[in-house]
């Protein structure tokens, strides 16, 4: 599905307007997680941007990760990523999923998401504000081929 011709343009258009996300917390404090859920609720309502939170990895396009990767969740994170059908993107939400953040150096913390998965966009903040999360996802969508 290369971006050739009208079909390509339509597909690209559809992908940008229908990002379904799957959320996985690999060790965060819930701060970012509740801000993600917050984007779904009336104040921010990302459904108006076509974003839906899905419950099965098979239905998702974007993996929204929060929290640093802990030893125990590493394998799960990988597996969930592998279950998402291509094309797929990974978003690291919050300081600790970008770099390990305040938890860097903990004996059970491996660091940011990029220790395990290729990350397409990093959204800093602790927690990231809902606006920042929305902006980050939109920024990612801009770059879709």
């Amino acid at each position: 599905m290369k971006g050739a011709g009208t079909v390509g343009a339509i597909i690209r258009w559809a992908r940008r307007r229908s990002p379904w996300v799957l959320h996985f917390n690999s060790g965060g404090c819930n701060g970012c997680d509740i801000e993600i859920v917050d984007t779904l609720t009336p104040r921010f309502d990302v459904e108006r941007l076509g974003i839906l939170k899905e419950s099965s990895p098979r239905h998702a396009d974007i993996l929204l990760c929060t929290g640093p990767v802990t030893r125990q969740s590493r394998a799960r994170l990988r597996r969930i990523y592998e279950q998402i059908p291509a094309p797929k993107w990974v978003v690291a939400v919050g300081g600790c999923s970008c770099s390990g953040g305040i938890f860097r150096g903990g004996y059970n913390v491996l660091g940011g998401i990029d220790q395990v998965l290729p990350v397409d966009i990093y959204i800093p903040g602790c927690p990231s504000r809902p606006e920042a999360i929305i902006e980050g996802i939109l920024q990612l969508l801009e770059t879709i081929e």
């Binding site: 597909i11 229908s18 309502d45 108006r48 076509g50 899905e54 098979r58």
Partner: protein
């Protein structure tokens, strides 16, 4: 030659597949938008269902190891084909592709095929969630199907015909079946919610309980077809309800008839959305109890009344 062309046109464009496709997406959008508004949100833009559909078509299509590949590819198509075929017998604002005595039975049969396909999809896609979802779908099917059938049998018996077009046409005098058989309408409405697996009867696909139910393992094209078949089914179900209980287009083939029909459809859709917004999801055993202890007896009473009084 012209006949063939017009037949092809009716099947493919109006009131056939093309029209259904557009309706399905439009109804789906309206439903989501209305729900969102009631929940204090904005909701998706009008092109959303289309974007979702195209995106899914262009996505990788994977199945877990152990899933029955052929069946999994076939089932969404069976489901879609069944509802599309069912639509051919249901008059839309008076227009109908084919109509014959007994087509109501065919329609009802075709409309329950997707439930079966859905159940099989759950069983064959090798995931615990989909298996649980599948078995719930089957249980749910038994709970709503009987009252639904009986509720629809009422008008048929009253009119003395098992053709949707005739039942629809018989109300052109102005006396809607709704007014004669209000209980029947309510039952059919509830049955339809169950058939469409909409909130509060979205038990087989309860996100917080079993992921996405039978569809948990489906992706890409197959998922797109599943979604589409469910959306078309919604449209067909609403058409059916309007034709049987709400007087259809009010008789005759005219622009005003089509408009009237459309308005009625939107009202039913609105009612569906509001019902979905108002209640918590029931548990499968609660639904089964409700189906057998409340809905089925009510349907029976309604039917008896129709047979004794009207028949």
């Amino acid at each position: 030659m012209r006949d063939v062309a017009s037949a092809v046109l009716t099947i493919l464009v109006f009131p056939g597949f093309g029209f259904l496709f557009v309706c399905a997406l439009a109804f789906h959008w309206i439903d989501r938008r209305v729900t969102a508004r009631f929940q204090g949100r904005v909701g998706p833009p009008w092109f959303q269902p289309f974007a979702d559909f195209v995106k899914l078509l262009a996505k990788e299509d994977v199945l877990p190891v152990g899933a029955h590949e052929r069946a999994c590819a076939l089932l969404p198509m069976v489901s879609l084909a069944a509802v599309l075929t069912a639509a051919l017998h249901i008059p839309v604002g008076g227009y109908v592709v084919t109509s014959f005595e007994g087509d109501l039975i065919v329609v009802l049969f075709l409309l329950s095929l997707p439930a079966l396909a859905y159940f099989l999809a759950g069983w064959l896609s090798a995931s615990v969630f989909s298996v649980v979802g599948g078995s719930r779908a089957l249980l749910q099917y038994f709970a709503y199907e009987v009252p639904f059938l009986m509720a629809l049998a009422g008008p048929a018996i009253l009119v003395g015909s098992w053709s949707v077009s005739r039942i629809s046409g018989a109300q052109s005098g102005g006396l809607w079946t709704l007014l004669v058989q209000p209980i029947g309408f309510v039952l059919a409405f509830i049955g339809l919610i169950g058939k469409l697996k909409r909130s509060p009867f979205d038990i087989p696909k309860a996100k917080s309980e079993i992921g996405a139910g039978p569809l948990t393992e489906f992706s890409g094209r197959k998922l797109a077809l599943w979604h589409l078949s469910l959306q078309v089914k919604t449209v067909v179900g609403i058409f059916l309800l309007v034709d049987v209980f709400l007087g259809g287009s009010g008789g005759g083939i005219s622009l005003s008839g089509v408009t009237l029909f459309g308005v009625k459809c939107l009202l039913v859709l609105l009612a569906l959305s509001v019902t979905g917004v108002l209640y918590a999801r029931l548990r499968i055993d609660q639904l089964a109890t409700m189906g057998w202890r409340v809905l089925a007896p009510l349907a029976l009473v309604q039917l008896l009344v129709v047979v004794l009084v009207g028949g």
